[in-house]
Amino acid sequence: MHNIKKTIFLSLLVSVGLALSIFETMIPLPFIAPGAKLGLSNIIILITLVVFGFTESLMVGVMKSITFTLATGSVSSLFYSLTGAVFSCIAMYLVYRNLSNIFSLIGVSIFGAVAHNFGQILVASLMMKNMKIFSYLPVLLLTGLFTGYFVGLTSIYISQNLKTHFKDIFPYGG
């Protein structure tokens, strides 16, 4: 029974992440650098990491990337999306597990955003065979800082709420 609940909850998280990603593409951000995104679906990955653990959050991240590709139909963006998700997931896990006494979820989320940007730039430079694309990294880092901050803030509130209201689902008992 417990397992079914968890599976359903994880698939709900994936679908919320997918909805957030699609919603995000409808918000134009002309005033910031091209290519910068809000990273709203990072909230979902961070929540899964906090509530369930690393394996589950990686699963949700990968599933979200794949379903997003199916929804939008742009296969080339799959590599960027996947690499970004995996990179940010690993970074957030490492920071959350080892350094959570130093950083709150805001710091964890900023690390995730930085790793996400780095992963995407890495894929872009490999695909274009041009390392100068890395000169774009500082711009993305600055925008990622702001979005990462708000993703972290949101995640703090959501995880607090989830832990009080859905105690029975979570393996760690809140």
Partner: protein, 128 residues
């Protein structure tokens, strides 16, 4: 928001601004420059700026897509593209050596290079 968060945010801001300034200084290197148009990593066109070709448009049609490049007075931009996001068109003109326009869907890179560069751009000056 803990103390560590604040230190992290501050250090990232300082780091990015420093590297931005650094990149800008490198990009400002003087001298003659030319436009290098690359598709899928291979340079397909080299255009040296000249008064005679101001306003000339160059269609880039490859298996990956279509872009229309316009050469201006020591600057270059993309005015038409068939990619969905049109980011390369929105970016506008680039003029300094080291600046690039990238169109990811069409695997197109337009780069301004200084004459006398080794042309490879293999010096990775900011990744680490």
């Amino acid at each position: 928001m803990t103390k560590g968060d604040k230190i992290l945010i501050a250090s990232i801001i300082v780091l990015s601004i420093l590297s931005l300034v650094y990149i800008k200084n490198i990009a400002l290197s003087d001298g003659e420059s030319y436009v290098s148009i690359q598709v899928d990593g291979d340079e397909i066109k080299k255009i040296i700026f000249d008064k005679k070709i101001i306003g000339k448009t160059i269609p880039i049609e490859t298996e990956f897509g279509y872009n229309l490049v316009e050469i201006g007075d020591k600057r270059v931009r993309v005015i038409e593209a068939d990619c969905p996001d049109q980011l390369d068109v929105k970016q506008g003109y680039i003029s300094r050596p080291g600046e690039i326009i990238v169109c990811l869907p069409n695997k197109l890179v337009i780069e301004i290079k200084g004459i006398g560069d080794d042309g490879d751009g293999d010096v990775d000056y900011i990744s680490h």
